[in-house]
Symmetry: D2
Subunit: 353 residues, 4 copies
């Protein structure tokens, strides 16, 4: 089978680099075009401040960074956008209008009524919005977004809880890795031997995006899920892996052992289709008292960084409330990995190329 | 005025050292006797693995460590105990029986019916348990305890909330400093570039002790406060300062601005009495988005380390819920500092000497 | 005695803030004027991203930031410059020409022939360059500089070694704190759980500045000390305190115990004059195996942050070589503190006001 | 080809765990027996406090921990020892006497005259000591040791320098990872936001072991290399990867570019034999200013963790001195990985089985 050609918008940033590490060995996507802004004309290895332990794949290192225009992407079947939100706002619609399928990690269009906000295991059915989007916007291509890095793991854990139990309230406290802020991102003077109990705009995004992802398609848009959520976001001196402490309430009693079963049993379309970036077990449940931990568990599972790891599933205040801890890799499952898995899902549905 | 003589049980451990830094310059307590176990007979400066930036006060450095017996403490007016809980269990009652006032940081007797568990600004009235304690136990002295380091700051913030508003539920997520585990405590291999979402026994202690502290004296014991609490404890790579994210529910609507006022206005007996270790402002409210932070705020206030710093006071899910962040210095306000303030309070009430 | 009036250039940066913490309680300097660039017109507390645990002194918090011109500093006796080097290049001479005594932490003019580069305990006699400087430049005021933060502690330790022994070679390896890079400075993604074995331009600066400081005034300039030095600079995840490992060779044998004595006995003009920022003991020698350590020892001494702490004084390869470890506080002794002590020295010599 | 059977002494410790991660997929060694002390009788997964991101290989997880006696190892061709030095002292000779080939990471016998201390790329010829060892000790098996984790990378870099240039002096300053101290090892209270400029016994070990490894077999022992070395060891808050700053002197001038060539060209017997754990390039030279860095480079190369990464090769004080930075993975190249490579070398020479 010939590979699909892929273009990357915002190739030199932190998320852009993560795409490069993941696409370098991808079985069905071929990274053909790198697009950027300030580094146009440079060879990728010189344009980037490479931050990963593994080297830049040699085939990619020598690629030239092209200007961020639809013309640069000629011949590509899908555009991954790792642009800053500001730049993405105007640019992504141009690519979609020019006939490209755009899968974007930028926040600019996530909340647009007709733009699907996808976590492949959670709401693959939301891709049907693309139909309305093309009609109403007159685009030949389309724009699909993936959520904020803090939302993905949360939505994946809430989905089976919503399905199996009568969830009525969620209180989330996050401890987020510094890589979530990009590069240069968080100054070391702010975070070494410290915790910052605030991430700008993050708490609102978590509520807004999670309720859209868990919502129901209706007409050409999504009716958000109405479960009330309270969110507190903290930055901690961890390189990768967002940890979240959840307190949940339900309208009927539930046993923690049943929750374990529901989470462990969770499978979805990406697993059924055997998509290359789909982890065999989307939610790994640990039974030890002191897991998950970011440094030990962020790369767990059959596709490193793509599984959410859950632990400490226990009774809350009473038998109608529950507490648990979840961990998801913020630049893989929470960013580039989810976008790639989304594109794989779109390909399998004939929405690419 | 002549000073009261003070003895320290468990003088070489992490909390013991904090007592030494605080008592070295205390205006009305004179550290007269150091007691330990494995280091008996050694000079303090040689017995201790001193961990503080400031030097051991020279008058204390040369003191000899005595065996942990009532005889060693002869002539002392109060015994501060920083013993491990195991050792404290049998030992502290011996001192109390021998006529000493014991103020203990150990967890061994905190939940005993007739033992006051004191945060001086929160429940000074619980000291009245001492009366019953002496009678029922036949002690000439008495035993007073101070709570777990995570509880103190929480109780101080909940007290004015309980007083001013109809609090109905509390969800607490902590990010706790490594010094809370003592020395050697947390291995660096476990916590560098990591978060551990578990501290053994801690969550139960927080609920149990907080509800006792916020409870009501009745007969010779305390009727615990009945507000339901859910607690999740995490260890983070911070040296000192426990950060806590709170989500609270109330039975009637409340405005965050009113909460700010209630917390800022909070004063109690230690402030009214002008006790030496009482901070002028027990709860400092910060208005910035990103405060309190452990490294920046743990030593805030007129008595460094004794104020609780609160920030991000904001609406929760609706106008009957609230979120906030609090920080308290775990080895000062959460340990030695609170015990010393408790002794000052006891002295002012004539319960010492 | 009335205080001297002081102006601060570059008041909002990392070093500027350190000046504020030190001048807030200074016995003979009164911080009268704050000057900046982008924040002109704002009140200081709003212009600054304050990074210190202690609050901004209230008298300073409400000061308005003035434009960086000689007019703003009218009535001031000394100007402290914490400007970026680029800006300092043209600006500092303007202040000196206008009659002000400028004491600068910027690197722009440190190596100018007629500009003294001062560590007050090491080369107070270099201030005599000011005489020639005024003549040749036609300035009514003058410009004095203080060295790079890595140099100060090194020069202080080398001075007594040079005096007492025949030093012939120095190999220095540094482990430098992140605050040395200013704010935002080192991105956390670069330094958390990591060491960076490079600091741009630093190694050359250390050699150049140390040999000037240890040099001899001759004519209107300084003959540099000719001892060969090899320097390697590393950045480590420490907030404050530069640690340096020294290997030194001598032309004659020496005993480590004699080195201990020479370092401990070191006193200089600032101590003799009893200057307010002069530590009683400029070089504190620790006898423990594992000291100095940045977190424990950076604030040692009678004037916190102004003493250099030395340890592990031991034989090198043979009895003509020596190894030791030194620590100096990079933003106090290595920056603002040394500049203030330099101004105190100038005042005592009648070079101010 | 059938695999050789392997037994592991000290299977549950930090180094023991590293063996497990490396042997789990080894092409020619089959981990057949796990031996321990306190955990005898338990299944490995329950006996160990597993600290690695990757799971325990399932075939190993269910193995039972056997007592540390020659009988337990029956049928094994080689014994890897990751025992504490104390225990290794008596135990390893018992296994060697019983006919086993023992490859040990323990320090107990490293400096014994007739015991080879091997870095496979540096001194494979030292294995000939085994012949004398068997004769003089009357052993049927034999004992081979591998050096301290700080020595391995250093010896690998010094070897080609010694061969190509007239090296006369070495000054080494290390920044060592916490995993080098095992588990629980360094308390977090000692190392978070800190550097400890001391590691007990380490500096002597580095000199002693490096000069033995770089020495010449003569009679039944090794004449140590006589190049003088000065060593300073520091502990830094890094999880894995020892960084070392080298200053070297030579008797004749040399060009840094020639040093780059000599290091890059270095190959040895393990590469020629194509041993499974031999990295294609033993010494990787980076040309960037700011590399190697522990977090980015510790897993570099064709066999992750087995290459030494060198950077900042530059002139020292003059053209007869040199400075460089090297990094080696302390628990792979510096411990289990080197021991496994040593066993592979022994196998290829017919010294096993």
């Amino acid at each position: 089978m010939s590979k699909l050609n892929v273009a990357l918008l915002g190739a030199t940033g932190a998320v852009g680099q993560r795409y490069v590490t993941l696409l370098g060995t991808h079985p069905s996507f071929h990274l053909q075009v790198m697009m950027g802004s300030s580094s146009v004309g440079k060879v990728y290895s010189e344009a980037v401040r490479w931050m990963h332990p593994d080297a830049i794949p040699s085939s990619i290192a020598s690629m030239k960074v092209m200007p961020a225009t639809p013309e640069s992407a000629k011949g590509c079947d899908v555009i991954f956008s790792a642009m800053p939100s500001e730049a993405a706002k105007d640019l992504e619609p141009k690519f979609a209008a020019a006939g490209y399928a755009v899968v974007s990690e930028a926040s600019a269009h996530r909340m647009d009524d007709d733009v699907p906000l996808i976590v492949p295991e959670v709401n693959p059915d939301h891709l049907k919005l693309l139909h309305d989007q093309r009609k109403s916007r007159g685009w030949k291509g389309g724009l699909v977004t993936t959520p904020n890095c803090t939302v993905t793991g949360l939505a994946m854990v809430l989905k089976p809880l919503l399905k199996a139990f009568r969830l009525t309230k969620v209180v989330v406290t996050t401890m987020q890795a510094i890589s979530g802020a990009g590069y240069p991102g968080v100054p070391s003077l702010d975070i070494v031997e410290n915790v910052i109990p605030y991430i700008e705009g993050e708490e609102d995004k978590v509520v807004r995006e999670a309720t859209k992802i868990l919502g129901t398609p209706s007409g050409g848009s999504i009716l958000p899920c109405t479960i009330p959520m309270a969110v507190s976001c903290n930055r901690v001196p961890v390189v990768e892996g967002h940890l979240e402490n959840l307190y949940c309430e339900f309208s009927t009693p539930l046993a923690p052992t049943d929750v374990v079963k529901a989470l462990e049993a969770f499978r979805s379309e990406p697993q059924q289709l055997g998509l290359p970036s789909a982890p065999a077990v989307p939610i790994i449940v640990r039974s030890e008292n002191d897991r998950p931990q970011p440094r030990l568990d962020r790369m767990a599972g059959s596709v490193p960084g793509m599984s959410v790891v859950v632990g400490r599933i226990r009774r809350g205040i009473d038998d109608k409330s529950l507490q648990l801890v979840l961990l998801s890799h913020n630049t893989i499952r929470g960013a580039a990995g989810s976008a790639i898995l989304t594109a794989e899902l779109m390909e399998s549905r004939g929405l690419l190329g």
